[in-house]
């Protein structure tokens, strides 16, 4: 690892240690990680254990989050759905990061027609409201976990391409890069050894903030029945299924929604703290989309 990325990681960790909201966000994320990995062992009941005699029971010691319209334990389903949200968030942002960074590197490094073609393609994707494009992609490919990941990955790719390209355009003019070019280093080596470590900071920030929006998008797709398919639990789907009973069973609306909110808030708190330290000029996904004028 180069000195550039070493410094970035050190500053990132320092940012997370010294900012109380970021500490809280990190703790929530660690908790979420534990729940995501060990949810099925922590859950007091099976996620699909139907018991019609226990339908719509309010929170109690047996069922701390109550039961749903099929008598299933809501707490167990909320815990199991954490894994789904994390999986979709991580994989979709991973796709966006991989494709977006590749496109941004190629566009920024080679400039000219490569830049024009690739970035106009990104402009086209940027022209669609995020959820609308995700819905359209899932609608044609068929609903499910994998298509939701792909759709969310596609819609968040342009922001990574733009952040990467902007970074590359700035770094490629630096003396150390020009020196590497002059001694005949290959493009791949310069990009790997000199460019990538120096654009790591905005990418780390963008990844953290995008995870929040990816989880929100997954919840929205699940709410529309286009994400994870029943009977597998997903927070958005639980809200959709519970919306018809919410006036008589408030717990069906409160707990899955609170889980989405806390997760997104935690990612936002961590992302904001990282941004303040690593890249104060960078905008969030929503700000970038709304401030491109």
């Amino acid at each position: 690892m180069s000195a550039g990325s070493d410094g970035t990681v050190r500053r990132a960790l320092s940012a997370l240690r010294h900012d109380p909201p970021a500490v809280a966000g990190t703790l929530v994320l660690l908790l979420l990680l534990v729940v995501g990995l060990a949810g099925r062992w922590l859950a007091p009941a099976g996620t699909n254990d139907v018991d019609v005699e226990k339908m719509l029971r309010p929170p109690s010691l047996d069922h701390p989050f109550g039961t749903d319209e099929l008598g299933r334990d809501v707490l167990s389903r909320v815990l199991a759905a954490a894994r789904v949200s994390l999986e979709v968030g991580l994989v979709s942002v991973g796709i966006a990061l991989l494709v977006g960074v590749t496109v941004g590197l190629l566009a920024g490094w080679y400039r000219g027609w490569v830049d024009n073609v690739l970035m106009r393609g990104m402009d086209v994707l940027f022209a669609f409201p995020v959820l609308l494009l995700a819905v359209a992609i899932v609608a044609v490919l068929g609903p499910g976990l994998v298509t939701a990941m792909v759709a969310i990955g596609v819609v968040y790719t342009p922001i990574f391409a733009r952040v990467t390209r902007a970074g590359v355009l700035s770094v490629r003019e630096q003396v150390f890069v020009r020196a590497a070019v002059s001694i005949g280093a290959s493009d791949a080596r310069i990009i790997r050894r000199h460019v990538l470590p120096n654009i790591a900071a905005p990418l780390i920030v963008q990844t953290s903030l995008s995870l929040a929006f990816a989880i929100l998008s997954e919840a929205a797709l699940s709410f529309l029945g286009l994400g994870v398919q029943p009977p597998a639990p997903a927070w958005g789907r639980m809200l959709y299924d519970g919306r018809g009973f919410v006036t008589e069973a408030w717990w069906l609306g409160v707990f899955p929604g609170a889980a989405i909110f806390l997760t997104v808030l935690a990612f936002n708190l961590v992302g904001d703290a990282l941004r303040d330290v690593l890249d104060p000029r960078q905008l969030t996904v929503s700000e970038a989309r709304r401030s491109r004028a």
């Binding site: 393609g121 086209v124 609308l132 609608a139 958005g236 006036t247 008589e248 401030s291």
Partner: protein, 314 residues
């Protein structure tokens, strides 16, 4: 300025062409034959052939795309697989409902964000500033459909003050419309208000640190006069554009809220088209919204260049 507008027009036209390509290719991504998928299992050959010919799917791909773009340019977005009605008519029928929701949401958001953002910046570091920052952090993290469900639970379920869902046209019954729009508009507006509060706060803070503001304070002007005459006038230029872009994004971005509140707008239409596998309506709605989004962004750019001549001169 004219050159700037012309350049942005050209850029938007190129992007719009790309948008038509993406929307056109969506139909090609449908696994199998989209007409067969749309018709389900019970149909005769004659119906199948007629729908296939009417939607142009019996022609080569390039010919289909050229035909799609040329028809779209004249406002013809095809016909619905289900109802046989022109897609443009269907989308335009749904637009007023979405616009009324989006405009109300942005107005509600401004009502909260404007005073909160300005006061938070003017009294930076105060308890109010901290409260505003917490509000905006919470607001951008909360899913709008969860706020909507909580609203239904409290105001429709517990208090019984508002209807849980449904729609009444503004032109038919303004009071009925208001009672139906308040919950969905508040759910959407909360997120918008959080974003606008952040923008207004940072924009006002930036202007407050300018030399001309310091000069205005130094020459003894009252704080209120400095804020109104010198700070707000300059700080609100970027905010105007953000509000317009926010409105544009809401026109295509309120699918979930429209589904939750049975609001018959373009978002609900998109959802229904997905459920019914009515691909021409899905394509038409997506293209329409993306084109509207592009147009609004173009107008925002021109407006921004007009408000801040430095932009147009670049």
């Amino acid at each position: 300025m004219a050159r700037f507008v012309l350049r942005r027009l050209l850029q938007s036209a190129i992007v719009l062409l790309g948008v038509t390509l993406v929307v056109f290719l969506l139909l090609q991504l449908v696994p199998g034959d989209p007409v067969r998928v749309a018709l389900g299992t019970r149909f005769d050959q004659q119906t199948y052939d007629a729908l296939r010919e009417r939607s142009g799917l019996d022609r080569p791909l390039v010919a289909q795309y050229v035909s799609y773009v040329s028809h779209a340019l004249t406002g013809d977005l095809g016909v619905s697989f289900r109802s046989g009605q022109p897609v443009t008519t269907i989308v335009l029928e749904r637009l007023p409902a979405t616009l009324s929701l989006a405009v109300t949401a942005v107005l509600l958001a401004l009502l909260v964000a404007f005073p909160l953002g300005v006061l938070s910046a003017v009294r930076s570091g105060s308890a109010l500033d901290h409260a505003a920052r917490v509000f905006s952090q919470f607001g951008v993290s909360v899913p709008d459909f969860w706020t909507g469900i909580m609203g239904i639970l409290l105001f429709a379920g517990v208090l019984g003050w508002l209807p849980p869902s449904g729609y009444v046209a503004l032109t038919e019954d303004p009071a009925g419309w208001a009672s139906h729009v308040i919950l969905p508009a508040t759910a959407v507006g909360l997120v918008t208000a959080s974003i606008l509060t952040r923008f207004i706060r940072s924009s006002v803070l930036e202007v407050l640190s300018e030399d001309y503001v310091r000069t205005a304070v130094a020459k003894g002007l009252r704080a209120r006069v400095v804020v109104v005459r010198h700070v707000l006038r300059n700080a609100l230029i970027p905010v105007v554009t953000v509000v317009a872009v926010q409105l544009a994004s809401l026109v295509g971005g309120v699918i979930v809220i429209e589904v939750l509140f049975a609001w018959p707008g373009v978002g609900r239409l998109t959802y229904d088209a997905v459920q019914a596998r009515d691909y021409p309506v899905l394509q038409g709605a997506v293209l329409f919204v993306a084109a509207l989004f592009l147009l609004m962004n173009l107008l925002v750019d021109v407006l921004y260049a007009r408000l801040d001549p430095r932009i147009g001169a670049r």
